[in-house]
Symmetry: C2
């Protein structure tokens, strides 16, 4: 078993920091995220993960007790990555940002994480519906936490009168999140810059939800 040791959370998360063992672990985890996001929960074979991680399949068991634990961690990390990046981005906004500006910020952050930063997040999103019951339950907790962030954003905007109150807030929120979560299915870095997608999305959402033109 890997020695329990305080691994400095390596701000960049790059697989070149920390001791070798920790790096292998990261490599496997990242490989699992990649495969999971493409092949789905049941379709993710340890052999494939291992191949991507440049390791033999049994190496996985040095770090995780089972395949399921590995995949579950991918999902957890994916959820946290999204939540944390969005929250951090919001925190970085100027104090006087309007409620709509904050929504713009959240849109940008969500798209960044899902499209560029993290296959983990993509793996978590795409597989939510396919998780085994017990894992799904834990997943729902994280999902609710994230939903709360957005609920707050929307409520604030409504309260500030910046956002139309004449549509069901939950539905509107989910429509937006749907548009965001679906982006990985069609966006391709070759066809257009991430910045453009972000701008378009902000534009459309703003018009779709805001009170003024």
């Amino acid at each position: 078993m890997p020695r329990e040791q305080t691994v400095r959370p390596s701000a960049d998360g790059s697989p070149t920091s920390g001791r070798k063992s920790a790096r292998t672990r990261e490599r496997i985890l990242a490989a699992a995220a990649q495969v999971l996001s493409r092949k789905g929960w049941a379709g993710t074979r340890l052999v494939d993960v291992a191949e991507v991680a440049e390791v033999q399949a049994p190496a996985v068991y040095y770090y995780w007790p089972s395949r399921e634990d590995l995949l579950a961690e991918v999902v957890t990390v994916g959820q946290q990555a999204t939540l944390e990046h969005v929250v951090a981005s919001l925190a970085a906004l100027p104090e006087d940002a309007s409620a709509l500006d904050r929504i713009d910020g959240a849109i940008a952050a969500h798209l960044e994480v899902v499209l560029r930063r993290s296959e983990f997040s993509l793996a978590a999103i795409r597989n939510a519906a396919q998780l085994p019951a017990d894992i799904r339950e834990r997943q729902l907790v994280g999902q609710r936490a994230y939903a709360d962030v957005w609920r707050g954003l929307v409520e604030d905007a409504v309260a500030a009168g910046e956002l139309t109150a004449d549509v069901d807030a939950r539905a509107a929120r989910m429509l937006v999140l749907g548009a965001l979560n679906w982006a990985p299915e069609w966006w391709n870095p070759e066809r257009g810059s991430l910045e453009d997608v972000v701008a378009t999305t902000q534009h459309v959402v703003r018009r779709g939800l805001s009170t003024r033109r």
Copy 2:
């Protein structure tokens, strides 16, 4: 092997029409759609499908040469169901419907098919990214055909000046489709009527894309 016979396409698709053998086939196919939409491509076991269809697993092989063929058919049917329902709904609109009205119609039709009418369509949507390469290729053809319908809708609306030309049409289109395709992940008949979701979606999209208020 099942006798090749002209099966009247049973307008309603209910499993109570046609000869018994054909009904069994339908039952298995529908069961496969249900399981596929929940468990993903690799997670769909014939035993589960068979159980839902109230049949033993080997019965599948009387109708399809392999599990893969069965699942592939589910995807094809799902795509066609969506395309056909949307096209039919558009055709049913009054001649003088505006371009934006037609988009409203397409939104309603797409949501209906995905949320109520067909687990097939849901199975096709959720698994697109997980299909084995060869099947995925065929799938892309159908997907393109459907995308063309929407491209047409959007182009018409832009041409008619009813839709803002200041955003990337492709991105806008995909954002909308994303919002629609994501609906099954959160919509629950208990929490609100389908009609409400449709109305909200139409409202938000209209505002998000149209030129006038």
